[in-house]
C-alpha cells in the first residue's frame, strides 16, 4: 500500500474510516513512523483545539446576552406556527414568563464533556459528570447507548475516577426536521441510581449531536459560581429543549427498533 494521503490519515485519526479502510491504514502505519507521528498530531491538535475554546461551553452566557435574546428586536413574524405536540409533561406550551429561568437551566452545562461522551482520553471534571453540547464520540459509552439501546433498557458502565454509572435512553422521537432524536439520562452511584444529568441528542448527518443538556442532581452551587438556580424543575428545562426542537410524539417500540437495526439511517 502506498502512503495514504493526509485526508485519509486525518480520517483514521478521527476514527471515521470503515473497518476495512481502518485495517489497511493500520497495517501501513506499522512501517511508517512519520505517518504515525502525523496521525498522533492530528489527534492531539484536535483535543487541544477543543480544550482551547471550551470556555463558552462550560459557563453560562453573560446576562446581557440572554437579555438581548429575550428582549431585542421588535419585528414579529406574521405567521404563528401551531404549537409542537408535547411529550411527557402534559404541562402545555411554555409561556414566556418562564423563559429567563428556563434559559438558566438549559444553559447550565455541567462542565467539560466527560468520559461518557468522549471516551477514555477525556478527563472528568471534579465533582461530577459532564455533558456538553456537541457531537458524541460513537465509541464512547453514550455513543454506543444511543446507537444500540432501546428506550428503557439501561447500559451499566464505569468510568475512570467516575465509579459505576448507568446510561438510559428515556424516549425516542423525531424533531421538526424529522431527525431521529433520543432523550437520555445519566444515573450514578451504585446504590441510589440518582439521575445526574439528562440530555437530548439528535441524528445529524450520520452522527449523534447533543442538542441540549441539563444537570439533574442536586449539587452545591458553590462549585459553580456562575450557576443561577432557576426555581424551575429540570423537567421544565428539558421540556424547553424539546419545544425548541419541535419534538413530535414518541416513536413506537417497533419504529425505534427499525431505526436501531438500520443504524439510524
Amino acid at each position: 500500500m502506498t502512503r495514504p494521503d493526509d485526508k485519509i490519515l486525518m480520517d483514521y485519526a478521527d476514527g471515521v474510516l470503515s473497518d476495512g479502510e481502518r485495517a489497511a491504514v493500520a497495517a501501513y502505519l506499522l512501517g511508517d513512523a512519520e505517518a504515525r507521528e502525523l496521525v498522533e498530531k492530528y489527534r492531539t491538535s484536535l483535543s487541544l483545539l477543543d480544550e482551547a475554546f471550551a470556555e463558552p461551553m462550560r459557563t453560562a452566557p453573560p446576562r446581557t446576552l440572554v437579555d438581548t435574546v429575550l428582549n431585542a428586536g421588535t419585528v414579529a413574524v406574521a405567521t404563528a406556527e401551531p404549537p409542537a405536540q408535547r411529550i411527557g409533561s402534559g404541562a402545555g406550551t411554555t409561556s414566556s414568563r418562564f423563559i429567563l429561568p428556563l434559559a438558566a437551566s438549559i444553559l447550565l452545562l455541567a462542565g467539560a464533556a466527560g468520559w461518557f461522551m468522549l471516551g477514555p482520553s477525556a478527563e472528568l471534571p471534579a465533582g461530577g459528570f459532564g455533558i456538553a453540547i456537541g457531537p458524541v464520540n460513537p465509541s464512547s459509552p453514550l455513543g454506543r447507548t444511543l446507537d444500540t439501546a432501546p428506550a428503557g433498557v439501561p447500559t451499566d458502565t464505569t468510568g475512570p475516577g467516575a465509579g459505576p454509572a448507568r446510561l438510559e435512553v428515556v424516549i425516542t422521537f423525531r424533531d421538526r426536521r424529522a431527525r431521529p432524536c433520543r432523550e437520555f439520562e445519566l444515573l450514578t452511584t451504585a446504590k441510589e441510581r440518582q439521575p445526574v444529568a439528562a440530555g437530548i441528542a439528535c441524528r445529524s448527518d450520520g452522527r449523534w449531536v447533543i442538542e441540549g443538556a441539563v444537570r439533574l442532581a442536586e449539587s452545591p452551587a458553590s462549585d459553580r459560581p456562575d450557576y443561577v438556580p432557576s426555581g424551575l424543575t429540570e423537567k421544565d428545562a428539558l421540556d424547553g429543549i424539546l419545544s425548541a426542537l419541535g419534538a413530535q410524539p414518541a416513536l413506537s417500540a417497533a419504529d425505534e427498533k427499525t431505526l436501531i437495526n438500520r443504524r439510524w439511517d
Binding site: 493526509d6 485526508k7 486525518m10 502525523l38 498522533e40 498530531k41 492530528y42 492531539t44 491538535s45 484536535l46 483535543s47 487541544l48 483545539l49 477543543d50 480544550e51 482551547a52 475554546f53 471550551a54 470556555e55 463558552p56 461551553m57 452566557p61 453573560p62 446581557t64 446576552l65 440572554v66 438581548t68 435574546v69 429575550l70 431585542a72 428586536g73 419585528v75 414579529a76 413574524v77 406574521a78 405567521t79 406556527e81 404549537p83 411554555t94 414566556s96 423563559i99 428556563l102 438549559i106 444553559l107 452545562l109 482520553s121 477525556a122 478527563e123 471534579a126 453540547i133 456537541g134 457531537p135 445529524s204 448527518d205 452522527r207 449531536v209 424547553g240 429543549i241 425548541a244 419541535g246
Partner: protein
C-alpha cells in the same frame, strides 16, 4: 407560542455554540461575546428574513461571520490575538517544550488558529469544533462542500504541524487540572 418566541427560545439554546464559534474567530472571549450580541440583535431585528423550519444555527453562524469580517476589514488586520512568534519559539527549543504546562500548549493552538486565513478558520470552527458535517458547514458559510473539505484539511494540517512531538501529547490532553 409565536414563531418569534420559538426563534428566541432556540437562540437561547444555541448561545454556547455561537459563543464558541465567535471566540474561535476573534481569539477573544470578550470580543466573541460582543460579536454574538451584535449578531443576535441583527437577527432579531430581521426575523422576517428567517424562514421558520430552516436551520437557525446556520443563519446565526453566517451573521456572526459577516459581522466579524466587516470588523476585520475595518481594522485592517486579522485578529487581536497573541504573539505569533510563540509557535516558532517553542519549535526551536525542545527543553522549553518539555517543561511547558498544559496552559501553554493551549496558547500554541490558539495562536495557530489565529494565524489561519479567515476562511479556513471559519470552516475549521464549524467542522472540527462545532461538529457540523461538511454539508452543514457548506450551507452555513455559503460555499461548496468541496471548498469546505479542502479548507478544513489545510487548517487541520497547519494545526497538526504546530503540535510538536510526543511530549506535548503527554501534557496537552487535559491531564492537568485547571
Amino acid at each position: 407560542m409565536s414563531t418569534a418566541d420559538d426563534v428566541r427560545q432556540e437562540m437561547l439554546t444555541l448561545l454556547p455554540r455561537l459563543r464558541r464559534f465567535a471566540y474561535s474567530l476573534s481569539g477573544s472571549l470578550e470580543e466573541g461575546d460582543d460579536l454574538v450580541q451584535s449578531a443576535c440583535e441583527r437577527a432579531l431585528s430581521r426575523l422576517d428574513q428567517f424562514t421558520p423550519g430552516t436551520r437557525l444555527d446556520s443563519w446565526m453562524y453566517r451573521i456572526i461571520q459577516t459581522i466579524w469580517l466587516n470588523q476585520v476589514r475595518a481594522r485592517g488586520r486579522r485578529s487581536i490575538l497573541v504573539d505569533p512568534n510563540i509557535v516558532e519559539e517553542f519549535a526551536l527549543d525542545a527543553r522549553i517544550y518539555e517543561r511547558t504546562e498544559a496552559k501553554d500548549s493551549l496558547r500554541v493552538i490558539r495562536a495557530a488558529v489565529a494565524k489561519l486565513p479567515e476562511e479556513q478558520r471559519a470552516a475549521l470552527a464549524l467542522v472540527a469544533l462545532d461538529g457540523r458535517s461538511y454539508k452543514e458547514a457548506a450551507d452555513a458559510l455559503g460555499v461548496p462542500i468541496g471548498t469546505i473539505m479542502s479548507r478544513v484539511a489545510r487548517a487541520r494540517r497547519k494545526l497538526a504541524d504546530a503540535v510538536e512531538g510526543p511530549t506535548l501529547t503527554e501534557i496537552g490532553l487535559g491531564k492537568t487540572t485547571r
